[in-house]
Amino acid sequence: MEGLSAFVLAIILVGLGLWTLIERRNVIWKLLGLNVASGGAILFLVAVAYRPQARPALLGLGPGPTADPLPQALVLTAIVIHFATLALALAYVIFLTEHRHTQDIHKLEREEE
């Protein structure tokens, strides 16, 4: 059941994050939503690695079943990519705040037309 609850939590996080991403007008809030949603997707991959009665996939922890190491390796890559994307997005927000003096997407869109 623990594996299933992790899946449910991951789906809830993705849903909440995407909802924030759509609903909020402030770009910073949108990025927070995006970050929560990415966290959910990453947790989802971790949950895929779950096996009953398993221990972490580390050497030297003794015999017995281990969690699937592959999704965890993928997760590392995904975390790095999400970190880079978020950092770049925040740099863009700083630039837009300096040049347009707003973080509200409606204002950013309107003046652009």
């Binding site: 949108k30 949603a37 990519i81 630039f95 997407i105 869109e109």
Partner: protein, 487 residues
Amino acid sequence: MNTALAGVVAYLALGVLGFLFRPRWLSSALAILAGAVSLALWAPGFSEMTLGPSSWGIAVVGDELARGFWALALFLHVAVAWHERARLGAFQPLLTLLTGTALAAVISIDLFNLYVAMELAALLSFLLISYEAKTKAVWATLQYLLLAAVGMILYLLGVGLVYGKLGTLSLSQIRALAPGLSDPTVAIGVGLLVAGASVKSGLFLFGLWLPPAHGYAPTGVSAVLSGLVVKLGVVALARLAVAFPLGDVLLALGVVTGFGGIIYALWERDLKVFLAFSTVSQLGYILIGFGIGGGAAQGAILYAVAHGLFKALLFLAAGQAIEEASERHIAKLKGKLAWPSALGLAVGTWAIVGLPPLAGFAGKETLSLAVPAPVGWILTALSFGTAAAFAKLLPLFWPGQGRGKIGGLALLACGVIGLGLLGVVSLPGLVSLTAWGKALLVAAMGYLFYFVFRRFQPALPRPSLDRAITTALVSSLGLIAGFLFTR
């Protein structure tokens, strides 16, 4: 190590070295050389091979698709690097890295490498679109970034579901398992994968970030993005279709994308945004080809390469025209172009409306010879729409004053003409009176349509950022629901 992978590694390493050492052109030139040597060595093709354990190693394949896109990527890199040779700073190394990532993406044939390559290409695209630090371009990039991130969350969830159920990431192993889509977990997972790749490649309703991002990017960047980078998502979709029965889905996506893009292109008045909408519609062509498969897939590859060449030519010429005239509006650009950009637009338009004997004709005709009749009519309708949309560029072909810059335009124009002539001579069925007559008739009808209806200007809905994200998510849910209910 595999020759193609060695080429990719050399490309990426030289891209990184380009940040550190001067002169900057040297690393780009060496990278292109390394890529060309690698392509020449593996050009006969290699069957799939895996580095590392077979269920999760890096799987690469050197098939026709990879070969065509490698040639396109290297050619575009040469043309754009030459055209933008005056740019200092990080531009050239970033361009080298982006091309290298594209080379990696098109030989990858496992789910996670495709993910990494698409993400890396997206990150490098963000940096290049916002390179000139203009507010419009930065805002367009941020929109692109948010939508692309949503797409990649969907894709990651799909990877998790498919791997959790099937236990492998290799697409050919998945094909050997022949899972079909009857299992609901697999159906949802594949739906998520297709939706993610569709957002990434800017398909209509999924990726509405594409027109502003390509429209406001610097000249050379728009050329590489429209010519090469958006097609990486389409390549990912074509690779997914190897493992799962996706033919009808790609066909449907292609039809929607083709007509959606054309409708917006018909009434768009900003020159570069217009070209970006046209890119959306041409992706539809390529998807329809991959959806039918077999000979049509070969036609789709040829058309993807041809489109890469002439769309890059169009974007370089358009960007240069906009810089020369300080004006983006198509009607106001009349008579303000120097002769190289006017001629570039003319050759590019000639190719994209599919008039013989240029590259667009070879691609479109090969594609339509390989598809069944009803699909052929759809392709003809799309060609008609393309001709009607491009009719408004006609007044721009007469050059005004000024000497203008030739740069990469000449190279791309030679590529478009050369590939066209080569295709017409070497491919079967292209030297026929009916084919040439049909191409001319369709183009003429399109031009006629434009001149009859040019006063008609409907107000098409312009999606805001929130709407674009919502539309992408709703389309993705629809796609997944479709997978679930038709399995």
